[in-house]
């Protein structure tokens, strides 16, 4: 049943060696009054019946809906090599590489991952992954508070609302988090700059932001640095193929959700969070870090390094409580980036941009629909509809299309705004159909 191997004969032999009369005797240290009062679970089943149950649940999972939705999680291509290689059991049935000599596969892969993420974000140091995009925002804020010794974090309200909720929970007892409302769909850089003061540990923005707007953050970085604060940028990694990196714009810490890099949407996970920074802040990074070294014969190898920051050594003084991270998802990210390669990744980003711009131009032609973003966008944009966006979305869902994320649920007063996502996987036919359905819905 439980994949247990011992035969009744072997069990008898083992009990004899132990000197116990029965397996139950081994549980004697547990006082009788502490024994389970109930354990009411159905009888087990075989693989065959299990898959019937699981297929039934998966069939009612909305996988056939055409998604023009994102909210931080995006439907991108995943090269076949990603599943096959990350599906090698030598990777997925191993654990944290505590014994480096027999874990060089995982360690070198994570070193290569750290390199890829640094290059993507334009930064100098990366850890081996965090849990997801939301917790990465929170870890970055805590890191900035450690570096600066300050406890105020200025938050752009056009950062993904789900990430902002996670941040508020993490910081509830630890910091003050004033939020700066966006101007329309764009980060209000003027007000963000004005909100930074001598008590500010960091200012947190997202690029592109929740509404799809892309901004140049160089001036914000300069202002933050002038007052001794750090700039934290949450990055949608596919955008890095086309948009200037946060590092070039002056960011001190870059984070984001790595899901788009080779991980399926999977109803919420697993994904991975990434975090990169300047080399001088490396000792304040949370989580595992892989470093290069040599063995006693001078041969290059990789180990977990700076472990004195971590909970298993520092306990309550650690930089974070994180232990297990999302290693396998980060590996998928690395394989994805390697399989596409330098040109392929840039082409993928361009294609996302082209498709979104095409959709944007089509939707903007519909009577009563206008684009709200004032400037450039990347693969997401926000349109204002003549009526309530939530009602329109519900209507289009009946036709098998998720038209976008209504902004009103997160931004009171924006009930007519719809955030539309278009990845490279949305075909021209699907985009055309979205426009037709939307036009029909608005006319009727």
């Amino acid at each position: 049943m439980g994949y247990c191997a011992n035969t009744p004969e072997e069990i008898r032999e083992m009990l004899a060696v132990i000197g116990a009369g029965s397996v139950e005797e081994l549980f004697a240290p547990i006082p009788a009054e502490l024994r389970a009062k109930s354990f009411d679970l159905p009888a087990g089943i075989s693989e065959f019946e299990l898959m019937q149950v699981m297929r039934g649940k998966a069939a009612a999972g909305g996988a056939d809906v055409v998604p023009f939705i994102g909210g931080g999680i995006y439907d991108h291509i995943i090269p076949a090599a990603v599943d096959h290689l990350s599906g090698r059991a030598e990777f997925y049935t191993a654990y944290t590489p505590y014994q480096p000599e027999c874990s060089q596969g995982t360690l070198q892969a994570l070193f290569e991952y750290q390199t890829a993420i640094c290059r993507l974000t334009g930064m100098e140091a990366s850890n081996a992954s965090l849990y997801d995009g939301g917790t990465a925002v929170a870890e970055a804020a805590l890191m900035a508070m450690r570096i600066t010794g300050r406890s105020k974090v200025v938050l752009d309200a056009s950062v993904n609302p789900l990430h902002r909720e996670v941040l508020s929970g993490y910081l509830a007892r630890l910091a003050e988090v004033p939020q700066v409302a966006p101007k329309g769909c764009d980060s209000d850089l003027t007000r963000l700059m004005a909100s930074i003061d001598g008590d500010t540990a960091a200012v947190i923005v997202q690029n592109p932001n929740f509404f799809g707007s892309v901004a140049d953050l160089a001036a914000l970085a300069a202002k933050a640095h002038e007052l001794g604060a750090l700039l934290i940028v949450s990055l949608y990694p596919i955008a890095a193929g086309l948009v200037k990196s946060p590092g070039e714009m002056g960011a001190d810490i870059v984070i984001g959700d790595g899901q788009s890099l080779g991980n399926p949407v999977s109803f919420g996970g697993p994904y991975f969070g990434f975090i990169t920074t300047r080399k001088r802040f490396i000792r304040n990074l949370p989580g595992r870090i892989v470093g290069e070294t040599v063995d006693k014969n001078g041969k290059r190898g990789y180990v977990l390094t700076l472990q004195a920051r971590e909970q298993h050594i520092k306990r309550q003084k650690a930089t974070s409580n994180i232990c297990s991270n999302q290693g396998l998802c980060a590996l998928r990210g690395l394989i994805f980036l390697s399989a596409l390669g330098k040109d392929g990744f840039a082409e993928l980003a361009s294609l996302n941009h082209d498709k979104a711009e095409y959709a944007k131009s089509l939707l903007a032609k519909i009577k009563g629909v206008s684009v709200v973003n004032a400037g450039a966008t990347f693969n997401e944009f926000t349109v204002s509809l003549p009526g309530n966006a939530a009602q329109v979305v519900e209507k289009l869902l009946a036709s098998g299309v998720a038209a976008g994320v209504p902004a009103g649920g997160y931004y009171p007063g924006m009930e007519n705004a719809l955030v539309v996502t278009v990845t490279e996987k949305r075909t021209k036919a699907e985009i055309d159909r979205l426009a037709t359905l939307l036009e029909d819905a608005l006319c009727n």
Partner: protein
């Protein structure tokens, strides 16, 4: 082995991207545009396949080697769970939050609800959230729930108590939730010192965090009393489920007096460890704490359908959606497949295997707490010290003989600790072969200790210079 970047050749192409079927858009403005493409490798798909296949062969793993890494429960990960988990790859979580979207995702929502109910029954808790993404994340969530409970009662408590044998994540998680830590020493009988604990308990203590069986693999017979002492002072009790694999169907933390628990789906419920995650750390609570669970909650409606509900009094959101769903799907599959009897067998065989290991090895290795253990046993290499041999030397010798070493130097309260957790999925035959090598290592320690210091010799690299790594801090290739 070369890095993938070192295999790069300018102009070499990898996987083809979709064929453009829309007009090319105008380029971004210069101040927003990346000047040069990201310096990713330029390699063929076959290069990628050979590279990562090559890397995979430089790993020990459960599928290739016995992996008795104590405290990590490295059991066999059934292949069918991979099939089950991947069925949901194309289900977008945002659908569940759209108006009218719930109806389209009844399958995954019913799975989450089903898993929560399974875990509640297994642990004796009243409700469970699957949002936490790993064990440590579960701990932090649980302590945040406890903080919200005290706050709602207008109480300001500032301490969390942990035993010195606890996992490092316990104090780190409580500290992240804003608490100061009080550490209690281990008594000679192998458990938290009861007198020291009693003395530390006060109306300023928010919670005590316990791992039971503890990290020595011992079941604390005073655990109910520990809970009662906390409750008397108005503090709550936290159960770290890291070692739940030992007691399924035998003890339920909820029955014993624990208020909050987390479980590790990647340990007890057979989901793979992924080379360092993804894990999953659902949290269960007793009735009085349900209001403080994170938002949103998956709820079963009167008509039998499932919905996503805001949970306004709760601690907020601890991860973006409902947790590491594809990992949860694997755990749901595991529990459903094994059933109640199967889970009981798991714990019984895990405990049998660990006691067999203890009985066979204690002749040559010091067993500081020589009593019936649960799912793991902790030795010390103290007898080998007189030959200049340390726990790490025994560990490296095992690598040469094809075994992943046990956990060494943890728990911190055992000198030269060697922590062995065979798990239930290993056979007597596998363990006997491992035991022979452990006994052989003890002999080599006496006769030729230098051979142990030299190990490992069969791996792609020998012992690595960790000091140099920390000094050079080369964490990505230039």
């Amino acid at each position: 082995m070369q890095l993938i970047y070192e295999k790069s050749v300018p102009g070499r192409k990898g996987v083809r991207t979709p064929i453009p079927d829309v007009p090319k858009a105008a380029p971004l403005a210069a101040d927003l545009r990346r000047e040069a493409p990201v310096a990713l490798p330029e390699v063929s798909e076959l290069d990628v396949v050979r590279h990562f296949t090559g890397l995979s062969r430089r790993n020990f793993s459960v599928d290739t080697n016995f992996y008795p890494l104590g405290s990590c429960t490295m059991k066999y990960n059934a292949k069918i769970m991979e099939n089950a988990g991947s069925l949901f790859a194309d289900c977008h979580p945002m659908l569940s939050l759209l108006p009218g979207g719930e109806n389209l995702v009844q399958g995954p929502l019913s799975l989450i609800h089903g898993l929560e109910q399974q875990l509640a029954e297994i642990t004796g808790m009243d409700e469970v959230t699957t949002q936490p993404l790993a064990g440590a994340h579960g701990e932090m969530t649980g302590i945040m729930v406890i903080a919200a409970y005290h706050k709602a009662r207008g109480e300001k408590r500032k301490y969390v108590i942990v035993p010195d044998s606890s996992h490092g994540t316990n104090p780190a998680s409580a500290a992240m939730a804003g608490y100061e830590i009080v550490t209690i020493p281990t008594a000679p009988y192998g458990d938290m010192d009861l007198d020291a604990y009693r003395a530390a308990m006060s109306s300023e203590v928010a919670a005590v965090m316990m791992t039971c069986p503890n990290t020595l693999g011992l079941f604390n017979p005073h655990v109910a009393e520990i809970c009662a002492i906390a409750h008397e002072a108005g503090a709550l009790t936290y159960y770290d489920g890291a070692n739940l694999n030992a007691i399924m169907g035998k003890v339920r933390p909820g029955d014993v007096g624990f208020d909050v628990i987390h479980v590790n789906l990647h340990k007890t419920f057979g989901t793979p460890h992924g080379g360092g995650g993804p894990g999953s750390g659902p949290v269960g609570v007793k009735k009085g704490l349900i209001p403080y669970l994170p938002t949103p909650r998956v709820a079963k409606k009167a008509d039998g359908s499932f919905g996503v509900e805001a949970h306004p009094e709760g601690i907020g959101r601890v991860s973006d959606f409902f947790g590491n769903f594809a990992i949860m799907a694997r755990a749901f599959a595991y529990i459903t497949m094994l059933g109640g009897e199967g889970l009981i067998e798991v714990s019984e065989q895990a405990v049998l295997n660990a006691n067999y290991m203890a009985a066979r090895l204690k002749g040559e290795y010091e067993l500081p707490y020589d009593m019936t253990c649960m799912h793991e046993c902790v030795f010390s290499a103290s007898r080998q010290l007189k030959y200049g041999v340390h726990a790490i030397d025994v560990a490296k010798y095992l690598i040469d003989r094809g075994y992943h070493p046990p956990t060494v130097y943890f728990p911190l309260n055992v000198k030269e600790a060697i922590m062995i957790e065979p798990t239930e999925t290993e056979s007597k035959q596998t363990m006997d072969a491992f035991i022979e090598v452990m006994l052989e290592a003890a002999q080599v320690a006496k006769t030729n200790p230098e051979a142990l210091h030299e190990a490992p010799l069969t791996t792609p690299v020998g012992r690595l210079d960790e000091t140099r790594a920390a000094r050079m801090l080369q964490v990505c290739c230039e």
